[in-house]
């Protein structure tokens, strides 16, 4: 195509577009009498299976407390604490673990579950993993002191079971811990 043809084409297209635009701006003619009937939606019948709220009976409460009583904390097995976002054992933690190991050696029938906990800050999921790291750190240390691995179970509760429900550093420091629960 030569330059003149291109020029003509451009002019033609421009003109056509302008005309089309101009036409679109005219007010629409009054609509027809008949409009399509509305689409009909029938609401689904299904009911979600919800839990009926029941009053807690005394028996239920006692049963639950009884189950918890199966696991006891012994004053001889002290808890240890951690710094924020850390699973490294502080020297105080190691001292406490030394004492815990001594108790366990003296009482070979006692098995424990080491619970790892975190403070409430941060991702709950990340804290579940961090809590597990804390429990593992305590477990490894006790094993290194000669406690049989089979006596030491671990579990993480992340930030889900705080000792102190407060929202300040004092509370948080208490929650960053590993607990030693005797399992029967």
């Amino acid at each position: 195509m030569n330059k003149t043809s291109i020029l003509r084409l451009v002019l033609l297209v421009t003109l056509a577009t302008l005309l089309a635009a101009g036409c679109a701006r005219k007010p629409a003619a009054p609509p027809m009498e008949e409009e399509a009937p509305p689409a009909v939606t029938t609401m689904p019948e299904q009911e979600v299976s919800g839990i009926q709220e029941q009053e807690m009976k005394e028996a239920d409460v006692m049963e639950r407390d009884f189950q918890r009583a199966e696991e006891v904390s012994l004053p001889e097995l002290e808890r240890i604490f951690f710094d924020f976002d850390q699973y490294v054992l502080t020297s105080q933690a190691q001292d406490i673990l030394d004492d815990n190991a001594a108790y366990l050696k003296a009482n070979p029938g006692v098995n424990v579950r080491i619970e790892g906990h975190c403070d409430e800050r941060g991702s709950d999921e990340y804290n579940l993993a961090l809590g597990e790291r804390r429990a593992q750190a305590a477990q490894k240390y006790l094993i290194s002191l000669g406690i049989d691995r089979g006596r030491l179970d671990i579990i993480s509760y992340g930030e889900e079971k705080p000792l102190d429900p407060g929202n300040d550093e004092a509370a948080w420091a208490k929650n960053r811990r590993a607990e030693f629960v005797v399992v029967r």
């Binding site: 297209v13 609401m43 299976s49 919800g50 991702s123 889900e160």
Partner: protein, 429 residues
Amino acid sequence: MLRLLITAFLLLLPSLPAAAQIEISAPGQQAIPMALTRFLPLQGPQNRELAAEVDEVLQGDLDLSGLFRLLDPEAFLSDAEKIGLTSTSVNFSEWRLLGAEALVKGAYSVKGDTLTLEARLFDPVGRRLVTGRRYVGKVGDVRRMAHAFADEILKSLTGEAGPFNSRIAWISDRTGQKELYLAEVDGHNAIRISDHRSIVLNPDFSPVGKELIFTSYKAGNPDLFRKEIYSGQEARISNQKGLNISGRYRPDGREIALTLSKDGNSELYLMGTDGRLHKRLTDNWGIDVDASWSPREDEIVFVSDRQGNPHLFIVNTLDGAVRRLTNAGKYNATPAWNPKGDRIAFSRLEGNVFDIYSIRPDGTDERRLTFGPGNKEHPRWSPDGRFIVYSSDETGDKAIYIMRADGSGSRRISSPGGNARHPAWSGRW
């Protein structure tokens, strides 16, 4: 000369009427003046409660959309009192006088327990019906019908249906223990759907079926459970030793990404919905948690402390290649990949408080979405990718809020009492 004409032609193009491109993520730029009228009885006396419910739901959804400026009903003229279900029965000039560019009218009919709701969206300027629906159901379905029409309004104006008739799940300790709750998008009709009496955490809706997965300590260990929403049936689908957490359905619903620590360390795995392990995705000394799928299913964003503090990384699900996404901040967590694929929302610890940010998957254009006091965490996207649900403790208690993708329009949806956290947003319901 030729160049001049071509340039002139090209300059004219943008001024030609283009298809409506209304972006909800930029409200205020295009607030359509809308008249929302009270729905009227098709016959017989008014049912004020019913009409008020419809009105409340539509107002809430239309306001949340960020698309509209609702006109003051005090200014409405006589046409507001008349039923108008076709364009010939509406006096459009009255509405144009008020400056309305969108008009919602409707009517209802109750026979016994059956409710029929007629809803219409009109364009007063073009003097035409834009979209109309008739909903048939029980009287108790009235809010869902109104939500469905709000979705329809958005569909006709933006090309994409709204998410207002979908569902939101969250965890609350209202009963004294952490259980799973299911509610409508505005927080109404919340019901408890788990009875584990232990600790339930972190739900995720299946994108295809009416089911959820979540972690629970019911059996004494953090295991992954699946629950059918309508039948209530539950199954424990992953009970590996250690952690079974952060379960997230792949967008086609046929696989689950989760974190297991069975091999001594928290790693990402892919598992079938039947619990069978398919693949281990990460192999690193660090903690790897909080998976969220790209809508293209080829990548997963997750949290890892493999390079020090918790940051976001992206792993390729095919070849396992990992790249780092976030560099700023000391603690980035709870990522959620937008179903449209273009952004990832997450929470970051700044100072002593978590706030929600969003970033592009290539690591650019990071934006802060929430401000002010309180920790805002666990963002999740609506199925249309235009809204975010999250938890915040700005009032003291943890509660669930929703907002637009740009951080504006936030409002609380969970009722006070009972810390509510770990929200999840369903697919289209």
